[in-house]
């Protein structure tokens, strides 16, 4: 007999959460794991043995490279994201609020064209190196990206945003009197930063590092396009699969997942080792006084230059989309500009189908994320039950697994009927992609909801119940309206990422649900760089419109999501 109503309610709420996680996170992962144990028709650890003792050590090399790149990506992203967060949150200068929103623009860059844009920008025959070469009359291009450096730069560009967002949020939460106390004790700026501010940001930095590490481990487009020969685990998985070695692909996936999850656990342990809770008792925080006007303008100029650099890839895509195919082949700079690509694009009667598909699937997935995220987060934050940390880890797993692996998991799990798919074969159907998007963005929405819920005082809920409101009424009329802005920020981010999603899409799309990113890839495959770019521009515009509307009319800021 269940002791009381509250426990019963917790169980009712927990039930769907556990079911969904078990069906769409745990079960597919287990299927992959089981697959990895198959060798020559029998169950064994042979595949793992092969992985490690293989003569040529390619797998180990790939594993090492993945970890190495991910580590470096964390470092580089942190070095960009943290200072930017400081500049935009600590100092007031003209245009600050615009720049701080612009700083999240890298997330609207479509993945494939985005990487191509980088090559056109910074590659050996890219615009920037050649402009510099021609301006200064150099013999050689001064620099170029490719291989490792290319991957790193692309990672840094797209992933610093995570540092930027988490650290910005943390900076806001730091009680300024802590820094003042340090000044008062005689510490200079430098000391105060390194000994007080920076350590206090640890939880935020840990969270961002975790994210960036896991995303880099899983990163696909960048190594795929930039380093054909540089071995990383996510590509190995892809190639093993392409080669038809499903068991090996599964083994590699499991190992990659283990590395990511270990890192996740390590980071949690590290963060819990010390106490960073700021024991502030609600003293109004105040901004430090603004210093010299010179500083102010220096900041503004840095900000402007930063934003220009951030926007260069977007401009490059725009540029590419305006250059008709076949007019920028051997030429260093493009010479012909027109809207031919757009004309070709819009002549196609099917042009809007991928757009519609992407939007529709993103909306479905994001709605599911919203509902699931709010319930899960509520249960995790506000309810007590055994096995909470298990649920917590399950929620994080979709981030710890590379998108490719998630795609594979889904294939293994749902290319035959199962109870979780209501007896349907999902692979090859429309629903598989929304499902994949949903799974991939579970952690994002749950995390951002957790953040608001944790700040919400329990007594608000109690007050409502004391006034006679039942739980559901309270939830609907009190909790939801209060947390909605924060929740929607996370949801918006999930939506944006769903619209441009590539790595799982490429494994799972079908005719009926072909999304934008696949359309772009196919244009690329047919060497229609210009049309691919034009399509990319369409995608960027779409996302920017969504961002603008949600910011302008609903006051939701995606940059506040983490």
């Amino acid at each position: 007999m269940i002791k009381n109503r509250d426990t019963r309610l917790t169980i009712w709420l927990l039930l769907p959460v556990v079911l969904v996680l078990a069906a769409y996170v745990l079960y597919p992962s287990m299927r992959t794991f089981i697959e990895s144990l198959q060798k020559d028709g029998s169950i064994s650890l042979g595949n793992y043995q092969d992985f490690f003792v293989q003569e040529s050590k390619t797998n180990l090399e790939a594993l090492w490279n993945s970890v190495y790149i991910s580590g470096l990506s964390v470092l580089v992203s942190a070095m960009i994201g943290i200072p930017l967060a400081f500049i935009f949150n600590r100092y007031d200068f003209p245009g600050r609020s615009f720049f701080s929103s612009a700083a999240i623009l890298p997330i609207v860059l479509p993945s494939l064209v985005g990487v191509m844009a980088f090559l056109f920008l910074y590659g050996e025959s890219g615009l920037i190196p050649n402009v510099i070469k021609d301006l200064f009359g150099l013999e050689q291009v001064p620099f170029k990206i490719g291989g490792l450096s290319g991957i790193l730069i692309v990672h840094a560009y797209t992933m610093y945003v995570y540092f930027y967002m988490t650290v910005s949020a943390a900076i806001h939460k730091i009680d300024p009197s802590l820094e003042e106390a340090a000044y008062n004790l005689g510490a200079g700026k430098f000391k105060v930063f390194w000994q007080v501010t920076f350590p206090l940001l640890t939880p935020a930095i840990v969270a961002a590092s975790l994210l960036v590490f896991m995303i880099s481990m899983a990163s696909f487009s960048a190594p795929f396009l930039l380093a054909g020969g540089y071995r990383v685990l996510s590509l190995q998985i892809y190639f093993s699969k392409i080669n038809g070695d499903m068991e090996i692909a599964a083994t590699q996936s499991v190992i990659l997942s283990i590395v990511s999850i270990s890192f996740l656990l390590f980071m949690r342990w590290y963060q819990n080792r010390k106490d960073y809770r700021i024991a502030s008792k609600g003293i109004g925080s105040h901004r430090s006084e603004v210093k010299s006007p010179l500083m102010k303008w220096a900041m503004a100029v840095t900000g402007i230059i930063g934003v220009i650099i951030l926007l260069l890839p977007h401009f490059t895509i725009l540029l590419l989309s305006l250059v008709p195919d076949g007019t920028w082949t051997f030429q260093t700079y493009p010479t012909v500009f027109n809207i031919e690509n757009y004309r070709l694009l819009f002549e196609d009667p099917n042009i809007f189908k991928p757009l519609r598909n992407s939007l529709l699937m993103a909306v479905i997935a994001t709605l599911a994320n919203l509902v699931f995220g709010v319930i899960t987060s509520y249960v995790l934050v506000k309810r007590k039950f055994v096995g909470k940390s298990m649920i917590d880890i399950l929620v994080m797993i979709p981030w710890a697994l590379p998108a490719t692996v998630i795609g594979m998991n889904l294939i293994f799990a749902f290319n035959e009927p199962s109870v979780f798919s209501f007896g349907q074969i999902l692979v090859g159907s429309f629903w598989i992609l929304p499902l994949a998007y949903f799974i991939r963005h579970i952690p994002l929405v749950v995390r951002s909801t957790n953040a608001v819920l944790e700040q919400l005082d329990d007594s608000i809920e109690e007050a409502a119940r004391n006034l006679g409101a039942k739980w559901f009424y309270t939830f609907r009329k009190v909790l939801l309206p209060i947390i909605m802005p924060g929740v929607l920020a996370g949801t918006l981010l999930a939506f944006i990422e769903s619209v441009g999603e590539f790595p799982t899409s490429v494994l799972l799309y079908t005719i009926s649900n072909r999304p934008i990113s696949i359309e772009i890839m196919n244009q690329l495959r047919m060497f229609n760089m210009g049309q691919a770019a034009a399509y990319g521009m369409v995608q960027i515009t779409l996302i920017v419109i969504v961002l603008f509307i949600s910011n302008r009319f609903f006051g939701i800021k995606a940059e506040k999501a983490l």
Binding site: K144, G146, F224, G228, G244, T329, F330, R525, F527
Partner: protein, 336 residues
């Protein structure tokens, strides 16, 4: 009489045909859209297609085995089809034009038939190199003077490149039954190679802009780039002979629209279609009865390498794996 034959087929089956057909093909939007329109006009059957790389198609057909989405798989090297039929992914179908296909252009059990041939060639940037300088045969590529001039598409994901590399090994393997010499050859090529590009587009770009000046690639693509996209590319057909890939078409096992699939199968390889493909899309037909082929086909003299494709299929993965794990210098891209 071929025309009548075909008309007969179409008329005879029209009534029972399903109203939809799904085609997987790497041929790209231009070709697919064109044939979609023609086929729809003729039969009133809705054509849906997905274009993706041939290797990816194989992969996908495999993962959809329990719930096939595709009816027709149009376009892929015969090795891919052999692999697929070995895994039971294809359905056998003997087309009406079977008489006009030479021996090597179809599966003995008719799991696939050839639609076009693709000779592999040495491709170069005609702005950087003159016709005289360019290596005339495979072995000349190993000359140290081409160091860092060669840019190659990363072979693992590319049927074309797999074929070329396998052929290089096969040249000695067929006699010695030992891939060692071939591996040696590839190692030398690797030393001259500047970069392995992730996708063809990148390779074209780099060669066009002169980051490198040489590559090996499929002839129809080179011609197409040169003619349609105005790239400064030319090609040389290696003197000692070159592997000629057969691209084919097949019906997927368990297809949901088998009748329409058969109609489409026939439709894209009629004489007219083959001629059109040759003229517009630079594909060399497999049918021996296509008249009035364009000049670039008739005038080019291709010396086909004699290849046992079964060996390729059997050994190919192993060779490529060896190349990937032991020959390719891992630090190639990190060097810069």
């Amino acid at each position: 009489n071929a025309k009548n034959e075909e008309a007969g087929v179409s008329e005879g089956k029209k009534g029972e045909m399903e109203d939809k057909i799904v085609v997987y093909s790497p041929h790209g939007k231009d070709i697919l859209a064109k044939y979609e329109k023609q086929f729809e006009a003729k039969y009133g059957v809705d054509v849906e297609w997905l274009d993706m790389g041939s290797q990816e198609i194989l992969d996908r057909v495999r993962s959809e085995k329990n719930n096939p989405q595709a009816d027709v798989w149009w376009g892929a090297p015969s090795t891919n089809f052999n692999q697929a039929s070995a895994e039971g992914l294809l359905a056998a179908y003997k087309p009406t034009y079977s008489d006009h296909l030479d021996e090597g252009f179809h599966d003995p059990e008719w799991y696939w038939t050839g639609t076009s041939q693709t000779p592999e060639v040495i491709m170069y940037n005609s702005k950087e190199l003159s016709k005289e300088e360019v290596p005339q045969d495979w072995n000349e590529l190993l000359d140290p003077k081409w160091k860092d001039e060669i840019i190659i598409r990363y072979p693992l994901a590319s049927g074309t490149m797999r074929t070329i590399f396998s052929a290089m090994i096969y040249r000695t393997y067929k006699d010695t039954k030992d891939p060692k010499d071939g591996y040696e050859w590839l190692k030398k090529l690797d030393q001259n190679t500047k970069e392995y590009s992730a996708n063809p587009e990148l390779m074209y770009n780099k060669i066009a802009k002169g980051e490198g000046s040489l590559s090996v690639w499929a002839m129809p693509d080179v011609v197409m780039l040169k003619e349609n996209k105005k790239y400064p590319f030319e090609f040389v057909i290696p003197e000692s002979g070159t592997p000629v890939l057969t691209e084919g078409i097949a019906i997927v096992e368990g297809a949901k629209h088998p009748k329409a699939a058969e109609a489409f199968y026939e439709f894209v390889n009629t004489k007219e279609a083959a001629k059109n493909l040759a003229e517009e899309f630079y594909r060399i037909p497999t049918r021996s009865d296509v008249p009035d082929l364009p000049e670039w086909i008739t005038s080019t003299e291709i010396k086909a390498m004699d290849i046992d494709w079964n060996v390729f299929q059997e050994k190919g993965d192993e060779w490529m794996k060896h190349w990937d794990e032991n020959i390719k210098s891992g630090d190639k891209e990190i060097k810069e």
